[in-house]
């Protein structure tokens, strides 16, 4: 603990107070849905008058909720596979190639972070409605790949930059082909970056709403179903779904932080 190491300075005390308040602000909306999700009251009451699992039961009993959750899982899994399958090879090219076009490609991959989601959404919506892809779950996964790709490339490139290419050349000197060297030497050492990238791609797709709003049509993803529910009526079923999403985010973040690399910036120095 820092306070034990150093004498208390007024500046540090102020810093600790401000940081604590900001952390409380950040956690407040995540914490607040937990008591509401197990409330026995049908409308918002705080503190809840009693305990009940009824909102979780209502979620499980309603096929539209369960179907949308399953659909979101499918979309997120396909998006993860696509963005890893495209992003990992691309990262090799971006880190190692000296072609001038790669600097441009670097910018192009990062662009979907900056381009407003609404613009990307209606652009893809316009294209997909011509191709009659509206309502197809794999269409949403393909569109989400554009959003997940920058995160995959950033994390994998960062891992690749710290990898010593001489190890690959050593393997090839001993007779391995380049593909075998990458598969047996490079990728295993990149595993932490790959794990982190995979989880981040999954979460990016699983939580995405704006693209899904336009592309999902009648077959809704979980975020779209939640959005419609919030617009119509706020009942604590949403709170139950929110709790499940927060728990899922916790698991993904925890796994990515424990087994992955690059998720927690500066972790290596602490």
């Amino acid at each position: 603990m820092p306070r034990a190491r150093r004498p208390a300075q007024p500046g540090r005390v102020v810093l600790t107070i401000v940081a604590s308040l900001v952390f409380a602000f950040l956690m407040l909306p995540l914490v607040v849905v937990f008591p509401i999700s197990v409330s026995s009251a049908a409308y918002l009451q705080f503190p809840p008058p009693g305990f009940s699992w009824q909102w979780y039961e209502r979620f499980l009993d309603d096929p539209t909720w369960v179907e949308s959750a399953i659909r979101s899982f499918k979309v997120a899994l396909l998006c993860t596979a696509l963005s890893m399958g495209l992003g990992v090879p691309l990262s090799f090219a971006l880190v190692r190639s000296r072609l001038w076009g790669m600097r441009l490609a670097d910018k192009l991959v990062a662009a979907p972070i900056i381009v407003p989601n609404i613009i990307l959404s209606i652009a893809i919506y316009s294209l997909f409605s011509r191709l009659q892809l509206i309502g197809a779950w794999y269409g949403i996964a393909v569109a989400h790949t554009i959003l997940a790709l920058p995160f995959v490339v950033i994390l994998v490139s960062a891992g690749l930059r710290t990898f010593d290419e001489a190890q690959e050349q050593a393997a090839m000197g001993l007779g391995a082909s380049w593909g075998v060297a990458v598969w047996r030497i490079t990728l295993p050492q990149l595993r932490p970056s790959l794990i982190a990238a995979g989880f981040l791609a999954f979460v990016t797709s699983f939580d995405e709403l704006v693209i899904a709003m336009f592309l999902s049509g009648a077959s809704m993803t979980l975020p779209k179903k939640m959005f419609d529910n919030i617009m119509l009526e706020i009942d604590p079923t949403i709170a139950a779904v929110s709790v499940m999403q927060i728990v899922l985010a916790c698991i993904c973040l925890g796994a990515a932080a424990l087994f992955g690399r690059g998720v927690v910036p500066g972790a290596a120095t602490k």
Binding site: P2, P223, L253
Partner: protein
């Protein structure tokens, strides 16, 4: 000669392999990102006229909404900066436990869906929301405070989403500062505030600019949070674009509004990037 070309050939083969690795992703980006955007933007000048842009520029509503969006983006950037800097400083100075806790508090919201967080703010800030109820139960207020369906609610929601985007670049910049520089300043007798103003702050500016650029530009295109927390009273440019497509099916006008938003977004990002360009490299 023969020697030189033998040397160059493996290098060429290597570049060819790397290009082949990049190709699938670049093709997907071209087909699903660049091409749809070009298609959309070209709709704004369909028929070879600038009439759609004229309509946007002459209509007070659209101009006002664009200004409001820029204003909201600016306010959010400033609030995030003021809140994020002390947090980044605290995490840099914290011990191991503080670091783990701080990163958890910062990254968990970042990994949680925007929709979940927006819903939680509706529950907290509403007329009969948790905050108003508690304040009334404690007898601090008589009538509910207007926290939701106004600018305040939208600002709270967006700041909550954007804070990690500001903290992380500032934190990364602070981490790169050589601690010996601070010790030197202190050893030469500079008080803590002066060390901060003359050493820490200037060296962290690349992070400040990088975070600000990201927060400003992403906020400008925000859609879900203002739609839910603004209650129709706070309209941002993304909402207008969606309306044109969904309600009026006016693709040409939506395309014109999208073009304006995209140009403003890229221009501001490029400008802020240029501002930090030199310093950013120096810091690395």
């Amino acid at each position: 000669m023969a020697h030189a070309s033998a040397r160059r050939d493996p290098a060429r083969a290597r570049e060819r392999t790397l290009l082949a690795l990049a190709a699938p992703a670049l093709i997907v980006l071209a087909v699903l990102f660049v091409w749809p955007l070009i298609r959309l933007l070209s709709m704004s000048v369909e028929g070879g006229t600038l009439a759609q842009f004229e309509k946007a520029a002459l209509d007070e509503l659209y101009v006002a909404v664009l200004w409001d969006s820029l204003e909201i983006a600016l306010i959010v950037t400033v609030i995030c900066l003021v809140l994020a800097y002390p947090v980044a400083m605290w995490i840099v100075q914290a011990g191991r436990l503080g670091f783990i806790l701080g990163m958890f508090f910062l990254l968990l919201p970042f990994w949680t869906s925007v929709l979940v967080r927006t819903y939680a703010w509706m529950v907290l800030l509403g007329r009969n929301g948790i905050i108003n109820r508690m304040l009334r139960d404690w007898g601090w207020i008589e009538f509910p405070l207007p926290l939701l369906h106004n600018l305040l609610g939208v600002l709270i929601g967006i700041v909550h989403v954007m804070l990690p985007y500001m903290v992380i670049p500032i934190y990364a910049a602070l981490l790169r500062i050589d601690p010996d520089l601070k010790r030197a300043a202190e050893g030469l007798g500079a008080p803590a505030w002066r060390t901060f103003l003359r050493v820490t702050l200037p060296l962290s500016l690349p992070g400040v600019f990088a975070g600000s650029a990201l927060v400003f530009v992403i906020t400008l295109g925000f859609f879900i949070t203002p739609a839910l927390l603004g209650g129709g009273r706070v309209v941002m440019i993304a909402t207008l674009i969606e309306q044109q497509v969904r309600e009026f099916l006016d693709w040409n006008f939506a395309a014109a509004l999208a073009t304006v938003l995209l140009v403003v977004t890229l221009a501001i990002y490029a400008l802020l990037g240029r501002l930090t360009g030199g310093q950013g490299h120096a810091a690395r």
